[in-house]
């Protein structure tokens, strides 16, 4: 049986970002199905006596205590963490497949080290955002507040004057040189795949596989929501991180622009984490908008993933007002699992995953007037929610997601399994 090592830049026990959760879900599903898999997650926790690794939960979950020494190149080669410690670990685990869900915080050279240490191993890399393309936290969002459509060293220099076009060119060449070691890429959205194809990765080398949803307790959609009741309050909810790119100010701006007649029909909940770690100006702006929308909007703070089904069951519409492209935000699959339709910005991964007038409604990204018009529509047309909810297709399960990965992990995977199975028999 092939041995699979799943590598993530964080463990969901500490970081609940979409990529960490996707990597861990895949690993757990591998284990659930009885496959030979290991999970290696980077951590910023202090190790025992300078050790590079520690164990978490069970012997197959390993924490990697390391960090990058160059955030521009995602490079880590000044310490021996990759070319020493990781190499030693690889020689112990001897995986047949190494599936990276990230190189951020681990160091891009980890990919080079896997190739050099295990020349036969199949290397798979899931691209979770636009990090290699864009120095602005992988957002493809310019530092002057505009969406970015294409990488160009000269334009990148405009965003970051302290780095020359030559520096961006070197960065591109360095990352691409290391990406040559990757046998296959996975992207959770076609939109993101196309950005990497524009950047220079071959079209045939990237497969689009949506993040799978673990089988949750059956979520019961509150049918009372669907019932047409002309005077009932409608609940909109935002779920996710709070940061300037998530468009919470667009949502609040839309609410505050509504006339009293519509505001009285609304309840808006913001379930958002990490508000306190945002910059002061941004916090001030959001607080000011929250004061303006008092009585309608409640800021509920962060939530645990097990609370989500309950929160969603009481929600009429999920709102995703992000002003950056996004890739495949988890909340889409989660909302669809609960059969809650989504009001979303009309760009990037959101526009791809949510079909306008089918299972959700689009509005022009970063325009609160557009969002306000959509909100008025859902208030006035009480049948809309039910119609769109009925159209929601069940999201990809984690088992289906893993099956699609097996094809990428290597054509012989099933063959080996079958052979071993017959030997055992």
């Amino acid at each position: 049986m092939s041995r699979i090592l799943v590598v993530s830049h964080g463990h969901p026990d500490f970081n609940k970002g979409g990529a960490e959760v996707a990597a861990y879900n895949l690993f757990k599903e591998l284990r659930r199905q009885g496959h030979d898999a290991y999970f290696l997650a980077r951590t910023e926790l202090l190790p025992h006596g300078g050790a590079a690794f520690s164990q978490r939960n069970d012997p197959r979950e390993i924490l990697f205590h390391t960090t990058m020494d160059d955030g521009f190149l995602f490079s880590s080669l000044k310490t021996k963490h990759l070319w020493g410690d990781l190499r030693d670990l690889l020689l112990k685990i001897k995986p047949d497949v190494v599936h990276f869900h990230h190189y951020f915080q681990i160091g891009i050279e980890a990919i080079e080290i896997v190739r050099r240490t295990l020349p036969q191993a199949r290397i798979v890399l899931t691209l979770h955002e636009y990090l290699a393309i864009c120095h602005n936290n992988g957002l493809m969002y310019k530092t002057n507040g505009k969406l970015c459509y294409q990488y160009s060293p000269r334009d990148c220099n405009n965003c970051f004057p302290e780095k020359s076009p030559g520096d961006f060119f070197l960065r591109e060449k360095y990352l691409k040189n290391i990406f040559k070691n990757v046998d296959h890429f996975v992207s959770p959205s076609l939109f993101l795949k196309n950005r990497y194809v524009d950047w220079g990765i071959s079209e045939k080398d990237i497969s689009v596989i949506e993040n799978g949803q673990p089988q949750l307790e059956a979520i019961i959609s509150t049918d009372k929501c669907a019932e047409a009741d002309d005077q009932r309050k409608i609940k909109l909810a935002f779920f996710g991180q709070v940061n300037p790119f998530k468009g919470i100010d667009v949502l609040l701006g839309a609410i505050s622009s509504l006339s009293k007649k519509y505001r009285e029909r609304l309840v808006v909940e913001i379930h958002g984490a990490n508000f306190d770690s945002q910059r002061g100006e941004y916090q001030k702006k959001i607080k000011r908008l929250l004061r303006k929308t008092r009585g309608v909007v409640t800021f509920c703070g962060s939530y645990e993933s097990h609370e989500l089904p309950g929160l969603l069951s009481a929600t009429d519409w999920v709102v995703i007002p992000s002003i950056w492209w996004e890739n495949s935000p988890m909340v889409i699959q989660e909302a669809f699992s609960a059969r809650v339709p989504i009001i979303t910005s009309d760009i990037g991964g959101m526009a791809e995953k949510i079909n306008d007038e089918v299972d959700g409604l689009h509005f022009r990204a970063d325009k609160h007037q557009g969002l306000a018009e959509v909100i008025v529509r859902v208030i006035e047309d009480s049948t809309l929610r039910g119609k769109l909810s009925d159209n929601i297709a069940p999201p990809l399960t984690i088992a289906e997601c893993l099956n699609q990965h097996f094809e990428i992990y290597g054509v012989n995977y099933h063959a080996i399994q079958n052979q071993e199975a017959s030997e055992i028999a």
């Binding site: 021996k80 060293p153 000269r154 004057p161 302290e162 030559g166 070197l170 040189n177």
Partner: protein
């Protein structure tokens, strides 16, 4: 220029009127500390330091200062020189509200509440202000950027190089665009500057050689790359070279010509080797020798019959280029030096050849002109090999024996300029020809800058002074070359 984004001309005009000017470019706030970058300039008395106080309590604040040259400020605002103007990064302890901060230079106070500057979150941006000293500046910030409650220990304030300051003082007497620039340079300034430089470069220089991996026994080629300021280029080049099987037969030599970077450089190089596996040799100079001295030191440590002098900011466009270059070299009759086509990252021309040319801004001098610079390569490219007047020192292939026979690069070009055209002239004088192979295309990632003419600073003056040295040595030969 790299700092152009910060040049708000109107704002500066008001500063120009003042006897002393202080400008803050960036601010970075961390718990318990404020990091600022900016510059100070004084019209009358020399300015050397800044003191900082808390305007509300009038108490003096603990601060650590890192100084560097702001040639752009000196040039654009016309300050007398480094004695009267410097760039700085300062780490200030024990103040939480920057609005209360007051700076003081030569007894004049500058409340920061009245300053406009950009607030940033990355030390890299602040350190980027130090230009060539960026890496050092970052180290300085990191060293002082301790968590609150701890005490900053190191006084990392770096004094300017005394020899360079002496040279700057000499250059201060020259007017770059005066008709008599050449005569005045010849009337003593050149001699005095060169004597400071000679003294510096002739200090004892015990060299340390470190070898990573096993170098080829009988290399077909030795590549010599001097490193000054930015050592991260090693990482980029080795990553690229390691992807080229022809390098099995190439000896790669990096010459560190920047003693202040020794530790970081050695640590990084070890990691680069362990990661990419390509063997290479490091020659670590105790003294800063300048471009010529560093290359000469590298060639002295080279074992191959052919040497390729290569700049650190050059990156190949595809594998196999060393093989192609050698093949061309062997196919040519009477070849002295073979160069390559060099492009910027946007595929415009950096170098296809060099030639001597007059420039009305600098009467009497012959400057090194790069034909077609900046034009799309697709528009102007030629195939095959071209015989040229001169080729750039950024990439030169030649026989080691010829390099040594003509005495290598002339180290009297202070810091570095024109040693490449000087070497070409020597090779021509020995009866050999100079070629460029247009089929070997490499990237040369120079940083952004204005042309020479617009900048009136000590570095430009030094360049022109070096040009006078070339003129003294070669005037008649240059005229002959141009006529042909």
């Amino acid at each position: 220029m790299r700092r152009s984004a910060l040049w708000a001309k109107q704002l500066l005009r008001s500063k120009l009127q003042k006897k002393v000017a202080l400008n803050i470019d960036y601010m970075l706030q961390v718990p318990g500390k404020i990091v600022l970058s900016g510059w100070v300039g004084s019209r009358t008395d020399p300015a050397t330091s800044i003191s900082w106080s808390n305007g509300s309590t009038k108490s003096t604040l603990e601060s650590k200062l890192f100084k560097f040259t702001r040639a752009d400020v000196i040039g654009q605002l016309g300050f007398q020189g480094e004695s009267h103007c410097f760039g700085f990064i300062v780490v200030i302890d024990g103040l939480s509200d920057v609005a209360n901060l007051v700076a003081s230079v030569n007894g004049i106070s500058f409340p920061l509440a009245g300053q406009k500057f950009n607030s940033v979150t990355s030390p890299n941006i602040v350190a980027g202000q130090a230009g060539e000293k960026g890496a050092l500046a970052l180290k300085f910030i990191e060293k002082n950027d301790v968590a609150s409650g701890q005490v900053a220990t190191a006084t990392a304030a770096i004094t300017l190089d005394p020899e360079i300051m002496k040279i700057q003082t000499e250059l201060g007497t020259l007017n770059l665009h005066a008709e008599d620039f050449v005569e005045r340079a010849r009337a003593g300034v050149l001699d005095r500057v060169q004597s400071v430089w000679k003294k510096r470069t002739s200090k004892p220089n015990p060299v340390r050689v470190v070898t990573h991996g096993v170098l080829p026994d009988d290399p077909a080629l030795s590549i010599i790359v001097p490193i000054y300021g930015r050592y991260d280029f090693v990482q980029h080049q080795v990553a690229s070279f390691s992807d080229d099987e022809n390098f099995a037969n190439v000896e790669v030599i990096y010459v560190l010509d920047d003693p202040s970077l020794k530790h970081e450089f050695l640590v990084t190089c070890e990691g680069v080797f362990k990661t990419f596996g390509l063997p290479f040799k490091l020659v670590v100079s105790t003294q800063n020798l300048g471009f010529a001295g560093a290359n000469n030191l590298g060639v002295a440590n080279a074992r191959a019959e052919r040497v390729l002098l290569l700049n650190s900011d050059i990156l190949p466009s595809k594998p196999g280029w060393t093989q192609d270059l050698i093949k061309t070299f062997e196919s040519l009759d009477n070849v002295g030096i073979l160069g390559a086509a060099l492009l910027y990252e946007d595929n415009s021309v950096q170098h296809m050849a060099m030639e001597f040319r007059r420039d009305s801004s600098f009467p009497g001098l012959w400057l090194n002109h790069h034909p077609c610079k900046g034009m799309p390569w697709d528009l102007v490219k030629s195939r095959g090999v071209t015989k040229v007047q001169l080729t750039t020192g950024a990439c030169m292939l030649m026989k080691k024996s010829l390099y040594e026979e003509v005495g290598g690069f002339d180290p009297l070009y202070v810091l570095g300029d024109f040693e490449d055209s000087d070497l070409c002239l020597k090779v021509l004088q020995h009866g050999f020809d100079i070629y460029v192979d247009n089929d070997v295309v490499l990237y040369h990632l120079e940083r952004l800058s204005q042309g020479l003419v617009s900048e009136d600073n000590w570095k430009t003056k030094l360049t022109m002074l070096n040009n006078v040295h070339q003129l003294n040595k070669w005037e008649s030969q240059i005229e002959r070359v141009v006529e042909e």
